[in-house]
Every structure is written in C-alpha cells, then in structure tokens.
C-alpha cells in the first residue's frame, strides 16, 4: 500500500497525464471486448463464457499475420475477421443448440470450447510467451503532454477504439439493423413473427461480438505478451465491466470500461498488490448500491 505515491502522482500533472492515458488504453481495450459480451447477453440472453478465448485467438492470428505480411493493419483485420469466422462456426454448431437451455449447459459448452481453444493455441503456437513487437509505423519518439510521456501507439489505440465505440453506437441506435437488434432483445417472438429471421440476427450479433473481441486481441498484440489462456483474465475483467455498466447496456460498458481502466491505472500506483481487489470492491459496491449496474435495465437480483 502506497497511498503517498498515489497522492504524489495526483499532484503532478505529468503523472496524471501518463496514468490517465494508460488508464484509457486499458479501458478502451476492455470496452471492445465487453461491448460484445454485453450485446450478446442483451440480445441472445446468454453469457458467452468463451468470449476471452476469441480475444486470444484474435491476438494469435494477428501475430501470425504480422509475421507473414509485416502489416499491422492486416494483422488487426486478420484478428477481427478470424475471430468472427470462428465465432460463426461456434454459434452455428454449438451455442445455437443451447439457447433457452439452462445456464449450466451453456456454461459447460463454453467451458469445453475454452479448454479446446487454449490447447489448440498451445499446439499451434507453443506455450512460450510470444511478443509481436511494436509495428514499424509506431516506432516514434513519445509525445510529451504537460510533461507526461504518451507513446503514439497509445493515442492510436485509444482513437481506434473510440471510433469503434462511435460506429457501434451508430449501428445500434441509428440503423435499421440496430432497430431489429434492439427489438430482438426485448421480444424475439414478435420480431420473428414479423418475418425477420431471428437465427440470422443471433448469428450476426454473435459474429459482431467476436469480431470486436478478436480485433481487440489484435490491436493489443504489440503491447501484450501472448500466451495460451490469456483470454481468461480479459473475460473476467470484461464481466466485471458488464456488471458495473449494466448487463445489456453498451453505453454502460463504455463508462464502466473507462472507470475500470482508470482505477487499474491509478490503483497500480497507490495499491500495487491490490489492483484486482479494487476492481472487485467497486463491483461489490455497485451490486449492493445499484444492482442493475450503472446503466442497466436487467435485474441482477431475483423477483
């Protein structure tokens, strides 16, 4: 515990800039993962316990694509679309069969998938930590803002994630497809009665979520060590984000991701051994004070 260090940091502008940027990048990457998680829960009514595995797959595919092409853009796209394709297969052949089943079976299907995915990744890419390395384009001298060091790559990631957040918002709130998604979340029977193929809607939402997760894995690959099983901690944090933001609420996920990012970033200075703890304390507080999450509609406690 070093609250003094935290206080020092908060009174120094350069430290505030550095920590806030690093909090934002952590938060925005979690947002990309959590947005899919919360969207899938809202529309499909299941919690995709395998979400982290798609983040991992995205990161590894990006790594390989980068090795082959040397292009970071191709790498990120490979991560996103690779995960999306895998997601389509997973939805079509596994998840679809347990819609409306009890939660236990859904969890078990995802758990089985995670075990297989982790092991396959280990077989294909090995169990050692892999590092993609910083792409050429971002090997620039850091930017100094008010004395704080900000790597250009961080600015890039934050921008990309923010753009995706905006696009996602636009799709959900302003397009016909978004209206259908929102209607399906509320009343799938009605949507189906209107002649809209709900299985296709489910499939597309699932694929969209997996795309976001895989892309997040690809985006993060230059600054994260790759290891089989890396997706799990991401899943847990994303779940915490979803609970804090409110299950089913994408806006809530954005707010909560940034909050968690900042808490982790500043927490690592003040309470280096208790960063995870801080996060859980936050979640506990939200569940006690506002069980539906900051912006959620779904009841967390039973009637």
């Amino acid at each position: 515990m070093e609250p003094a260090a935290l206080l020092d940091c908060l009174t120094s502008l350069s430290c505030v800039v550095t920590q806030t940027t690093s909090g934002l990048i952590i938060g925005m990457l979690f947002f990309l993962v959590a947005a899919g998680l919360t969207l899938i829960f809202g529309v499909l009514g299941i919690v995709n316990f395998a979400h982290g595995a798609f983040y991992m797959v995205g990161a590894y595919l990006a790594y390989s694509a980068y090795q082959v092409t040397g292009s970071y853009l191709v790498a990120v796209l490979a991560g996103g679309f690779g995960a999306a394709i895998l997601g389509v297969l997973f939805e079509r052949f596994a998840i679809r069969r347990v819609y409306g089943e009890n939660v236990l079976l859904q969890l078990l299907v995802c758990y089985g998938f995670v075990l297989v995915a982790d092991d396959l990744v280990q077989i294909i890419w090995g169990s050692e930590y892999l590092s993609m390395g910083m792409p050429q384009a971002f090997r620039l001298p850091p930017v100094f803002i008010a004395g704080g060091i900000v790597p250009p790559f961080y600015i890039f990631i934050i921008t990309v994630a923010a753009v995706f957040a905006a696009v996602l918002w636009f799709i959900i709130e302003r397009t016909q497809y978004g209206r259908i998604i929102r209607a399906t979340a509320v009343n799938p029977t009605m949507v189906s009665a209107l002649g809209i193929p709900t299985p296709l809607i489910y499939l597309s939402v699932f694929a969209l979520g997996m795309f976001l997760a895989g892309m997040a894995g690809g985006l993060a690959a230059p600054i994260r060590a790759l290891t089989p099983g890396m997706g799990f901690s991401v899943l847990i944090v994303s779940f915490v984000v979803t609970v804090i933001g409110g299950m089913g609420s994408v806006t809530g996920a954005l707010v909560a991701s940034i909050l968690i990012g900042l808490v982790r970033s500043y927490g690592s200075i003040g309470f280096p051994l208790f960063v995870d703890g801080l996060m859980y304390v936050m979640m506990g507080l939200v569940l006690v004070l506002k069980p539906n999450g900051l912006l959620g509609r779904q009841e967390a406690s039973r009637p």
Partner: protein, 331 residues
C-alpha cells in the same frame, strides 16, 4: 432413530468397511491412490451439488473453497501450532467464514450473476494466493511438505494410515451431506430450486436458507481440499484456478445432478479418465474440452440421471416459469 436413518448409517458403515478392505483385496497402492484422489474431487463435487442440484445455484467459484481448505490446513500444520484434527476443524471454520462473507454478497443474485460473481471472487482469491507469498508460497504453493505429527496413534506419514483416514473422513462427510439433503432443510432447498417465489410466499427465509447452504457447501468442498493437501503433502494455486471449478461442475453434470451419488460417480469417472489420458498425451485440455462439448451438446444428462426412476425433468436447476406470469397477469 427411524428405520431409514438406521439403514443409511449401516450402509455408510458397510461402505467404509469395503473401502478399507479394497486395497488389501489386490488393488494395492495404485488403487488406494486413485480412491483418495477421487474422494477429494468427489467431496468437492458433492459439496458443490448441494448448491447446483439441490438449490439451483450454479457456483463457478467452488475451487476457492477447495483451495482455502487445503491452504489453511497446510499453513496451520506448517506453523505446528495444533494437531491434525484441530487443524482440520480450524480450516473448515476459516473456509466457512470466507464463504459466509462471499455468500452474503452473492446469494441474492440471479443465476447468471451468481455464477460469474463466484467466478470473479475465485479469481480474486487465486490472485491473493499468488501474491501473498509469505503465507502461501506464491507460485510455488506451500513448499516443504505438510508435517503431520502422530495423533491418537494415527500416523499419516504411513500410506495405510493415510488411506484409512482419508476414506473415513470421506465416508463421514458423505454421510453428513446425505443426512442434510434428506432433512427438512434439504427439502427446503428443493422448494427454492423448484420455485423460489412460492417458497417466499410460504414463509421461507430464502436468503438465510441459501446462505446457509452456500456455507455448508463450501465447507464440505473444503474437506476435499484438505484430503488432497494431505495426499500430496502440499497445496498449489491451481487448486483455486477456475478450471478446477469447471472440472467439478463437469463431474456433477457427468455423474448426474439429480442423484446424490451422481457427483462422486462423475469424480470417479473423470479422475479415472484423467489417469489414463495423461499417460498418452500432454493435451489434457483438448481431450477434456472435447468430452465436455460432446457431453453438453449430445448427451446432456448425467449417468445417474438416466437410472433415476420417475421421469424427473433434466433441468431441476430451473424454476418453473409461472412466477412472473402471475405477477403481471392483471397489472
């Protein structure tokens, strides 16, 4: 004592005698090891099934109680402050206290929140095991073995004594759990599982019942952890890892959650398979994951769910759907 309790006590006693005799009937040490190992996992799974099968609450965090039993027992023995039986009691009390704290936050939540929150707490617990190096040994686990001084003439350093002790504790714990599920409390759990809202309208204090069950379930699961710690003379962070919980859940499902003995059968099957598979391949995850996918997409019911007479529904974890309907039917 009623006739059924006398009968059950005799059955438990007979089971104990058979188990004690088994290694001497030609199974040898290898069989004894397998039984201890399966017993540890079986207690974890059976304890977990008090929540899953009997109450309809899916905990994805029971490995933390498994680990808390193992670690607190191991740490107490290493500190050499009390004899084995007292250390076991202390470990159970510590686990019960942790469970009461976590349960108080979790049991009010609906099923998916409950599952993930227990999972999250488990990850937190796991990270504490890794970072609190002074007590837990961090990554390496409790190093240097767990000393077990002789008590009442029992020397757990001798394999025969260890086997007899573990088997006795297991049978005792199973007997107690069986009594609990056959008791008024056990049927109150079934009421909540079948129809929580109606149970409330019949005056059941659902929160208190669920919390009590959560603590009991955690304590019995931790007995499994203690046995494993005794057996391998150590405790490792993996005990609290989420995959441990996942395997326990799978054991429950595989053996059948509608039958009291389903989870322990699941443990026997899975630990047996495990023994065979690891001799052929390093990729246990691929194998286990494949089995789980086949099971959850194909079979969907545990072994003893099929044997069970009287067509009980395959999903007792789900309450009946009429609750919400009735609330809003005329609103």
């Amino acid at each position: 004592m009623t006739r059924s309790t006398t009968r059950n006590a005799l059955i438990a006693l007979a089971a104990l005698v058979v188990l004690l005799a088994l290694p001497h009937l030609g199974g040898g040490e290898k069989l004894a090891d397998y039984i201890i190992f399966a017993a540890a996992w079986g207690l974890l799974a059976t304890g977990l099934n008090l929540l899953i099968g009997y109450t309809g609450l899916i905990s994805f965090g029971h490995a933390m109680f498994f680990a808390s039993g193992a670690y607190s027992f191991g740490a107490i023995m290493q500190a050499q402050i009390m004899p084995v039986p007292l250390a076991i009691v202390a470990a159970l009390i510590i686990t019960g206290a942790i469970a009461a704290l976590i349960g108080a936050i979790c049991v009010r939540l609906s099923e998916i929140y409950f599952a993930f929150l227990t999972l999250a707490f488990q990850m937190f617990f796991h990270s504490i095991l890794l970072s609190w190096v002074d007590v837990t040994g961090g990554d390496n686990g409790l190093l240097g073995g767990i000393p077990t001084p002789v008590f009442f003439g029992v020397d757990l350093n001798q394999p025969e004594h260890l086997y007899a002790f573990c088997v006795t504790v297991t049978v005792l714990a199973m007997y107690l759990m069986h009594r609990i599920v056959s008791s008024p409390f056990g049927f109150t759990l079934r009421m909540i599982r079948d129809n929580e809202r109606r149970a409330i309208f019949l005056g059941v204090n659902v929160f208190a019942v669920k919390l009590t069950c959560f603590v009991l379930s955690a304590v019995f699961s931790s007995v499994g952890g203690i046995i494993l710690a005794l057996f391998i003379s150590g405790a490792y962070p993996d005990f609290a890892f989420w995959t441990t919980s996942g395997e326990a859940i799978f054991m429950v499902m595989l053996g059948g959650l509608t039958n009291f003995f389903g989870p322990i059968l699941g443990a026997l099957i899975l630990t047996g398979l495990n023994d065979i598979v690891v001799t052929y391949t390093d990729h246990y995850g691929l194998f286990l994951g494949g089995i789980i996918l086949l099971f959850s997409l194909g079979l969907r019911k545990g072994v003893l769910d099929f044997v069970k007479p009287g067509g009980r529904k395959s999903t007792p974890a789900q309450p009946t759907a009429d609750a919400k309907e009735a609330t809003h039917a005329d609103a």
